[in-house]
Amino acid sequence: MDKLIISPAPHVHSGDSVSKNMRGVLIALIPAYLVGLYFFGLGALIVSLVSVLSCVLFEYLIQRYILKGEKTINDGSAVLTGLLLAFNLPSNIPVWMVIIGAMVAIGIAKMSFGGLGNNPLNPALVGRVFLLISFPVAMTSWPSPIPLNPNYLDAVTSATPLALMKFGHLPNIMDLFIGNTGGSLGEVSAIALLIGFVYLLLKRIITWHIPISILLTVFVFTGILHFASPETYFATPVYHLLSGGLLLGAIFMATDYATSPMTTRGMLVYGVGIGIITVVIRVFGAYPEGVSFAILIMNAFTPLINTYIKPKRFGEARK
């Protein structure tokens, strides 16, 4: 028998691990991914594969040759970043753009800060926003949903529901719910994203605070605008909830561990902030969609929120 081990308490562990959490999020993304594959066909497959593979490759290369640290690609976080980046791209975007996006996401937004857990901004969103600003045309010509579409680069394009809404057309709510609409690869189907949300909650990977506060804020804010002046702001709150990247952003992007606040009270502030900024950009801004910018802006506020909003201390409730 070896020598007895002495260590400070506790002597048991819950068995939770980084890779378990990452795997859980990946599982939660499966329904939305399947819907994306169905409506956008070959393009979706190519974009997502390239994105995931290049993210993993960049992380491996940077870890191996620049940071010279431990191998971290096994924890699944690079796969997750890759998949989330792909979810935020149109399925007819050229491969080289995807690779650039992955390089920015992993190289600049994640590894340059020290890797998993140290990044101040959501890597996948940084990648997406970089592409959006650099290649606005490619990033905003969305392919029309055609079941099992075999075309990749030459897919028929159409406007997204949000762009349509800006110009006064309202899409069918049922289509938004199922995903039969134009948009990024993984953001189209509300129902699939909600299934993922329920799974994440059941597995206790995230708490309800961030997604619900974002969705509620958007609902209330757009509701007030709509009922104050239905002619100017004709889209009802329900449209705002179901269209664009709001659900994907609220459930999968804003809840990213490293870039969201640590306390439940802070999470609520963060969620409300994202909701307000999203609506302001959507309704008053130049872009039809503002979820990515809203999340990145609030990511930047997260350290401030962590400093000033403390958890509810024991014994603080009643004096």
Partner: protein, 441 residues
């Protein structure tokens, strides 16, 4: 079902030894009775080398406020008074007694009849408890008589009996309630009389249904004693958490339970009070649980204080082959031991053998900032932040972030997906900040 309101985890229970009747442990050849306690000043020895002592005879006189008497658990000759390694891993003063026979003090009532009436005044009861050297048997071993004497101007409203046993594996309190239920309830009514309250709550976690039913049936014959089943949640046995769970009041930071009108006593302490007051028997034995995943015979043993753990473990079939770590107490807050040559102290609730494969810690990874440690902390602290500040010696900031509220329950390190040693750093920070605060006075 009630429980405390902030944080908490639910580790797997592994209560293997539940329902296994207590056995009386063999006497050791030499008893090593510690004079020191976990807290406070060690008591002063009143016997010298060569003295013949009987079971129950006073060995050490309390010295100072937070200190308790120590009695002999065996009869025999005092071999020496020397330092011995205790569960803390450091040497502390102890009295070594070579055991001869088993001769008890005549004043101790050894009959098994249950005596329910108590005619003493509160002062007499507290004096008796102080004389009998009773300390909190939950682990912190704080002298019971100190807890029963509230500071001037404070009045207790309710007595809370801690029968939670929220640590995984341990079953000694559970077994005590099943076997000594009536004695415990008499002890509760004595304590109620001592602090002059007419309401007592026995808090039991809902995984001990037989004990709840047993005590509830018996409690009908007593006035003012209520048995309360609580939702299973660690660390419900923490004093502040238990008060929150049972009467819904939160003790403010830095205050003691009497601030909200509560006095908390452990269930095993209550039984010791019964024995001291009604049977005139000082505290020199307790139940300890011997358990572990690969233990052949799990068991609960009545053990005299000062018996080497090796002696008790032998009676439970010896140490398993694959043991990688021995823990005195439960897996969440217990201390790991370097050998079994440590003697049973008043606060030793059990010995747990952890197999080698589960002993070593897993590799630490980057902090994900997943906020799980914050959400499970029962005191509403931010362990991730405190760990970083402790590493960087930011003591002032740590104090501002309420480090002294930490109860060292281990929920943060238990839950961390990156296997970060949160509690190690937090505990070190707490010790350092505590020292700074004391030096300021």
């Amino acid at each position: 079902m009630r429980t405390f309101k902030i944080g908490g985890v639910h580790p797997k229970e592994y209560k293997f030894s539940a329902g296994i009747g207590t056995k009386i442990s063999l006497l050791p050849k030499q008893a090593i009775i510690p004079l020191g306690h976990y807290l406070g000043a060690p008591s002063k020895a009143v016997v010298t080398k060569g003295d013949l002592v009987k079971v129950g005879q006073l060995l050490g006189q309390a010295s100072g406020f937070v200190s308790a008497n120590v009695h002999s658990s065996v009869s025999g000759k005092v071999a020496k008074i020397d330092d011995a390694i205790d569960a803390s891993g450091y040497k502390r003063p102890a009295i070594f007694i070579d055991v001869e026979g088993d001769e008890w003090m005549e004043s101790i009532d050894r009959s098994s009849t249950i005596k329910r009436e108590c005619t003493m005044t509160p002062e007499e009861i507290i004096k008796k408890i102080s004389d009998a050297g009773i300390v909190g048997l939950g682990g912190a071993t704080f002298p019971t008589h100190v807890k029963l004497s509230p500071p001037p101007g404070k009045k207790a409203e309710v007595l809370i009996i801690n029968a939670i046993e929220c640590e995984p594996y341990l079953t000694c309190d559970h077994q005590l309630m099943l076997e000594k239920g009536e004695e415990i309830l008499v002890g509760v009514s004595i304590l109620m009389k001592a602090i002059n309250v007419n309401r007592a709550i026995i808090g039991i976690e809902n995984n001990k249904k037989d004990a709840i039913a047993h005590l509830e049936r018996l409690a009908k014959t007593f006035t003012g004693i209520e048995v309360m089943a609580l939702k299973v949640q660690y660390p419900q046995g923490g004093e502040k958490q238990l008060i929150d769970a049972t009467i819904g009041r939160q003790v403010p930071s830095g205050a003691i339970p009497i601030e909200v009108g509560a006095v908390v006593q452990n269930v095993a302490t209550t039984f010791a009070v019964y024995e001291a007051v009604q049977k005139n028997k000082p505290l020199f034995e307790r139940i300890i649980t011997i358990t572990g995943k690969s233990m052949a015979q799990q068991g609960n043993f009545w053990v005299r204080i000062g018996t080497a753990l090796a002696t008790v473990v032998e009676q439970a079939g010896g140490m398993p082959e694959d043991t990688g770590k021995i823990v005195a107490g439960g897996p969440m807050m217990g201390r790991s031991l370097s050998s079994l040559d440590v003697s049973v102290a008043k606060g030793t609730a059990g010995v747990l053998f952890i197999p080698t494969i589960e002993s070593a810690r897993k590799k630490m990874k980057n902090c994900l900032r997943c906020a799980k440690c914050v959400s499970v902390c029962p005191m509403g602290l931010e362990p991730y932040l405190l760990m970083g500040q402790s590493e960087n010696a930011m003591w002032t900031e740590m104090e501002r972030n309420r480090i002294m509220d930490c109860i060292e329950c281990g929920c943060c390190a238990f839950t961390c997906p990156s296997n970060r040693p949160l509690l190690d750093h937090v505990r070190y920070g707490k010790t350092t900040v505590g020292g700074i605060i004391r030096s300021r006075r």
